[in-house]
């Protein structure tokens, strides 16, 4: 029987969320095929290997798509308007995050450079990057 124990290579939801508040973006890399993903997972969706390692990703990325939330879930009610975005991190997988104080589409072109910000606000906070980020 395969024994199920948590080892250092595994990421729990709690660790991921605590990591975000400590300024770390953690996820998985498949040691067999190199696929990277931010998720809670046991097998690689590309090669189905179980050999996954926990890795830390870059804080820099670009906006793939987004929405500006004017009606938000409970935890975010007091933050509207803000942008919720899907972000391609420079060295790997996509991640979601929210960017405070965005109220108009003109303020956030697709491809906008963004940077992850350590924060005690709920969720994963990004802000618009400066030139050169």
């Amino acid at each position: 029987m395969t024994e199920l124990t948590q080892d250092a290579s595994e990421l729990t939801i709690k660790e991921f969320q605590e990591g975000i508040h400590e300024g770390k973006i953690e996820g998985y890399r498949c040691t067999n095929c190199g696929h990277q993903q931010i998720d809670i997972m046991e097998f690689c969706p590309v090669c189905h290997s179980a050999k996954l390692e926990k890795v830390e990703f870059s804080h820099f990325g670009s906006v793939v798509t987004y929405t500006i939330q004017l009606v938000a879930p409970e935890q975010f009610m007091n933050e509207v308007p803000y942008a919720w975005a899907i972000i391609q991190l420079d060295d790997g997988p996509k991640i979601t995050g929210w960017i405070p104080f965005i109220s108009r589409p003109e303020d956030l072109p697709i491809g906008q450079r963004v940077v992850f910000k350590k924060s005690y606000l709920p969720g994963i906070v990004f802000e618009k990057g400066k030139t050169g980020d």
């Binding site: 939801i13 809670i40 929405t67 500006i68 939330q69 938000a72 879930p73 709920p122």
Partner: protein
């Protein structure tokens, strides 16, 4: 697999109801049983399609509904695939009857959410996403489809007016559907002027939170014969397709397509031995206006990026080449989550029997339903034929 038929399909009115899920489900089930001219005792098993019954402090709907139908000993389980619960339940019943396990089953989809305030309901709907990474990170359910719409606009040049044209068409169709949530004709301008909820989507791009139930009796050919009916003039499930996708939208490569819908559509068409041009009309999952366009492209009715133009040109209106959502769709008929996929079958049943009144699609013989869970984590596609 044996042939599986839809013997009857009926619905409550969709909208805001003072009744509980249990009562709504019983009403729809009673109508379907009486329409089918069978006894509840003929039902051998049942699937209940439901997503949010715990919001009413009630789980385990199956035995309660069976008890109310006077058949407490009949096995009944809830099938939950978020907004695709209905098609998933139809699919599972089709498998059970097709495999010869049962000859007669009741599928009933139901939802009751109008007791929740808008913020709570919005939060509940976001539970259908990958909540840890999306809902809890600030995305409402409309926000996820807002992100899909932004991708579609960026990749194909789709305009907000074109999105609005979907809502205008579906509201017009619902005008003659007595069971629809909305009976309100709207204009492009009305949509464009409605408040933004999750840009680029506005209030009138979104389906409502509806209460309601829909039920269908599915059976084998043997059961049809036993009831003394011919299999002619009966609705055959000619193709069934079901697929999954990542629960999280953000992990996907292409945000302008739902791969689960592409795969489920291919499976259903292949099984039916039919192609897109054989379909007389389709009921698709337009939870937001953009979703109807994505559905038409995923199912192969429109080339990528072309669905918006086809809608604007009237291709998908009643009387057009391929009427889409003659019922009014989720947008205007309403979206009682668990009931939606079963309700699509109700529209198919009425249309194929020529009983859809003013919204009748002329000479409809073959129809397709497409029902999506959340942002495409689940999809079920069925093709029905009047034999």
């Amino acid at each position: 697999m044996r042939n599986v038929y839809v013997l009857s399909a009926d619905t409550t009115k969709y909208g805001k109801s003072p009744l509980s899920a249990r009562e709504l489900a019983l009403q729809a089930s009673k109508k379907a049983i009486l329409d089918a001219e069978i006894s509840p005792a003929d039902i051998q098993a049942s699937f209940i399609a439901n997503a949010f019954s715990l919001a009413e402090k009630q789980g385990h709907l199956g035995p309660i509904i069976m008890s109310g139908l006077g058949i407490p000993d009949v096995p009944a389980s809830t099938i939950e695939s978020a907004c695709a619960s209905g098609a998933s339940a139809i699919r599972e019943a089709w498998i059970n009857i097709g495999a010869g396990i049962y000859d007669c089953m009741l599928v009933v989809g139901v939802e009751k959410v109008s007791q929740l305030d808008t913020i709570t309901a919005t939060t509940y709907f976001s539970f259908g996403s990958d909540f840890v990474f999306e809902g809890a990170c600030g995305a409402s359910f409309p926000g996820l489809y807002g992100a899909i719409a932004r991708s579609h606009i960026t990749k194909y040049g789709t305009t907000e007016e074109q999105l609005a044209s979907v809502a205008v068409k579906n509201h017009a169709n619902a005008m003659s559907n007595p069971n629809a949530h909305f009976h309100k004709r709207i204009s492009i301008e009305d949509v464009m002027k409605s408040p933004v909820i999750a840009s680029p989507l506005k209030l009138y791009d979104a389906c409502p939170f509806s209460d309601g139930a829909a039920a269908a009796i599915l059976c084998s050919e043997d059961f049809l014969k036993k009831t003394g009916r011919k299999s002619s003039e009966k609705v055959l499930i000619r193709g069934s397709g079901r697929a999954g996708g990542t629960g999280a939208l953000f992990q996907r490569e292409d945000l302008t397509t739902l791969n689960a819908a592409v795969m489920a559509g291919r499976e259903a068409f292949k099984m039916a031995g039919l192609s897109q041009k054989d379909i007389d009309f389709a009921e698709v999952h337009d939870c937001f206006t953009v979703a109807e366009l994505v559905a038409e492209e995923d199912l192969g009715f429109a080339r990528r990026g072309q669905a918006a133009k086809l809608t604007q040109e009237g291709y998908t209106k009643i009387g057009g080449e391929l009427p889409v959502n003659p019922s009014g769709g989720l947008k205007a008929k309403g979206h009682p989550v668990g009931a939606t996929g079963v309700g699509q079958v109700v529209e198919v049943f009425e249309q194929l029997h020529g009983k859809a009144g003013e919204r009748q699609v002329e000479d409809a013989r073959i129809a397709l339903t497409h029902n999506v869970g959340a942002t495409g984590g689940s999809c079920g596609v069925h093709i029905f034929e009047l034999t």
